[in-house]
Structure formats: C-alpha cells, structure tokens
C-alpha cells in the first residue's frame, strides 16, 4: 500500500474511536428506550453498508457484463460478501433491539422480512459463484443474478409492506425524528462504516488479484516443469 492509503486507513481508525465515544458516551439515552437506543448507531449504519454493498454489486455486475473487465467482477463479488456479513449484523442487532423494545426477537415487520430475504438472496449469490469452476461463466452468471436480485428487492419490499406493516421510521419526510446530537452521531457512524466498507472492499479485491496472479504463476511453473520433463524424458 502507498503512503496516502496508509494515511486514510489511519484516519479511519481515529474516526472509529471517535464514533465509539459518541455512540456510548457523548450521545444521550433516549426518552423511552433509554440506553438501548445506542444499538441503533450500529444497526442502522450496518444496514446502510449492506444496502450500499448490494447496490454496488448490482451496478458493477452490469458494468462487467458490458466491459468484461476482471476488476469490476471482483469488486462486485467482494462487495456482495461484505454485504452478507453486514446484513447478518443488521439481523442480529435488530433482534437484540427488538427483544428490548418490542419484547420479541422476531416480528413479521416489512423491513425485517425484507432484510432476511436479502440475506438469503445474497447467500445464494455467494454459493452460486463458489460452485462454478469456470471463472468467466461464474462472473457472468453472478452479474446477471446480482442485477435481477437488485431489481427484485424494491418489489419484495413493497409487497411485504402491503402484506404487513411496526418498524420505527427514524427518517421521515420531515427529516430526522431525533435530537441533533443523536442525528450527528448516527451520520458520523454512517461515514465511518462506509469508510470501513471501502477499505475492506479494496483490500479484499487486491488480495483476490494477488491470488489470481499467484495461480497464474503456478500454472506457468507447472507448464515449465512439464516441458522440462518432456525434454529429459525424450
């Protein structure tokens, strides 16, 4: 990594510490929920990352289908994997919060239901990719699937909303239903989480690149050895 990249990562680290301070110390407990509200900073920020990640997957998949450049597909793949991890965080933190506030671990609320479906959709994306040996085929198939899944998500959400509708809307048309300090803490955690997402995305993609280069080198070495054996043998 280059120097400026290290600087950015260091800044992100500081940001994360500040964010923790704001989540747990600087921001006040909520009037009804008390300290439980602090889960929100983690929960909502994870959701933002998950949605962003899946959006990125769909978009880059589409770019891959047009451009056929390896890098777009790898970024799409890594983004989907991060998305699944963060969706898991959203589901777990949501459940804990639900138990504390709604007195139930799970309800068939539209947002919860959609999130769970999302988790299944992208788990399938990962399985689909992992189970196809041909690199080009895996990339194409996953791009098509990622795109179709992304188009389906709003329809899923809308249909589940019509089907049942108790999730708190912290962001309404009028703006945020919260005191300014909490809004700031929340927005700051968005920023930090998205920063972390970008860093993981970048590093994982670079690792995938190295891995592929390594396997190409292995192939070269194997070929060279085969050639050598052929000469010695004949």
């Amino acid at each position: 990594m280059k120097k400026w990249q290290w600087t950015l990562v260091a800044l992100l680290g500081i940001g994360m510490i500040i964010s923790q301070y704001m989540d747990f110390i600087a921001s006040p407990p909520e009037a009804q929920m008390g300290n439980v509200v602090r889960i929100m900073y983690f929960h909502v920020a994870s959701a933002v990352v998950a949605f962003t990640a899946f959006g990125v997957t769909a978009l880059l998949g589409l770019i891959y289908l047009v451009r056929k450049k390896w890098i777009w597909d790898q970024l799409a793949r890594v983004s989907a994997e991060i998305g699944v991890v963060y969706t898991t965080f959203v589901l777990i933190s949501g459940s804990i919060w639900g138990d504390a506030v709604w007195n139930t671990w799970w309800t068939w609320d539209p947002t919860l239901t959609t999130t769970l479906i999302l988790w299944f959709l992208y788990l399938a994306y990962i399985l689909l990719r992992a189970s196809i040996a041909d690199r080009e085929r895996a990339a194409k198939v996953a791009s098509v699937y990622g795109f179709i899944a992304a188009i389906d998500i709003p329809i899923i959400h809308q249909s589940v909303t019509w089907w049942r509708g108790i999730h708190p809307n912290v962001i309404t048309a009028q703006g945020f239903n919260m005191p300014p300090i909490m809004v700031f803490t929340l927005l700051f955690s968005f920023l930090v989480f998205l920063g972390l997402y970008s860093v993981i995305l970048w590093i994982s993609t670079m690792m995938a690149k190295d891995r592929d280069e390594l396997s190409d080198l292995r192939e070269l070495a194997r070929n060279a050895l085969a050639k050598y054996d052929e000469r010695v043998g004949s």
Binding site: A133, R135, E136, S215, E219
Partner: protein, 214 residues
Amino acid sequence: MNHLLELVGVQKSLGHRSVLNGADLTIDAGEIVWMVGRNGSGKTTLIKVAAGMSTPGKGTVLWFGNRPSSRLRSRIGVLLDESFLYGELTAEENLLYYAKIYGLKDARKQVHDGLEQVRLHRDKHVLVKAFSKGMKQRLAIARTFLHQPEVLFLDEPYDGLDAASSQLLTFWLENLQKAGAGILLVSHEANAFRELPVRTVKLAQGRLIEGDSQ
C-alpha cells in the same frame, strides 16, 4: 478473402487454471487442421471457445471475418465428446428435431438419407439411450453433418467407430474439404485419415504452434 475461422490471442481459465494462454489460429477454405496436444492441454476448451459455446476471457474469435452471431451459427457444426442427443427420443426423432431447428427443406428425406449413410436406418425407432457407444457416435456424426456446415469442429470423431464408419467419416471430410469447408480436427486415430491433406498444429502451454515439432 476472409478466413473461415480466426482466433487471436484467445485466453481462457477454468477455475484457477489458465487453460488457453494467447492461442492464435486461422483456418481457410478447404483446410483441415489437425490439432494435437497432450491430455488436458485444453483442446476441447479451444474447440468450445472457437465454436462460440464458451466465451474467451481475452482475445477474439471471428467466423467468416465476423464476430460470432446467431445467424452465423447455422453455418457451424460441432461434435464433442458429448453427443448433444436426447436419450428419450429415437434416432429419427433426434435428427428430425435438429433438422427442424436448422429449418432444412424436405427434412424427412435428409434425415432418412443421413440415417442410411451411418447405417442406423434399421434402428431409427430405437430410443437413443439404448444405443451403444458406437451407434451414438454415428448418430452424433449424422447430426453434425446434417445441416452441411461450412466450418466444422470435431473432437475425437473416430472414437468408437468401426472400420466402415471410419471410412465413411474420412470420405465425408474429404468431400467437405474439396467443397471448401474448414475443419478443425482433434483425433488420436491418425491412421484413419492419413490420406487427407492435414495441416498440423500443436497445443501446448495454452498456445498453438504450427507443426508437430517438440
């Protein structure tokens, strides 16, 4: 004059193994190219890519000087290890199905002739899943030649054939070659087509080298 087939810098990986690594090949009208190479050197992969069944990672494939398209696919014939036949259909139904797909005129007659030539006319009402390896191969050959393709990809076409069928296949190849077709042939039964004028290329380390030299 365009080449019938042209591959430029074709690269293809399967899993983490790069199989083709900048393969170049041209086939002109009236040419039979015999591709040799050790097991697992990627001959089948090269055929799949050249026939448009598989997309290359990098590089270009041109048919008759153009990018592969659905219109041009009707002028290509492919015979792989897998026969592309339906086990639950009879020999005749299989060929009729392919004849309909290619929109052949008097399909019944052509199918009948094809079956007779590969000596399967007596078994035409037998389900293909009951066929022996050799019979299936003969039917697959009839299937490949049915629409008189101008570019042919044949992967081990002599596999499982008896002497008479081998001769017939060689005869067909000769006729097509004289008629100006281009043929890419993979086969280890060199004896079967020794009379044919072939140009040999060798696939090694994912590249094609002219001649059979080490």
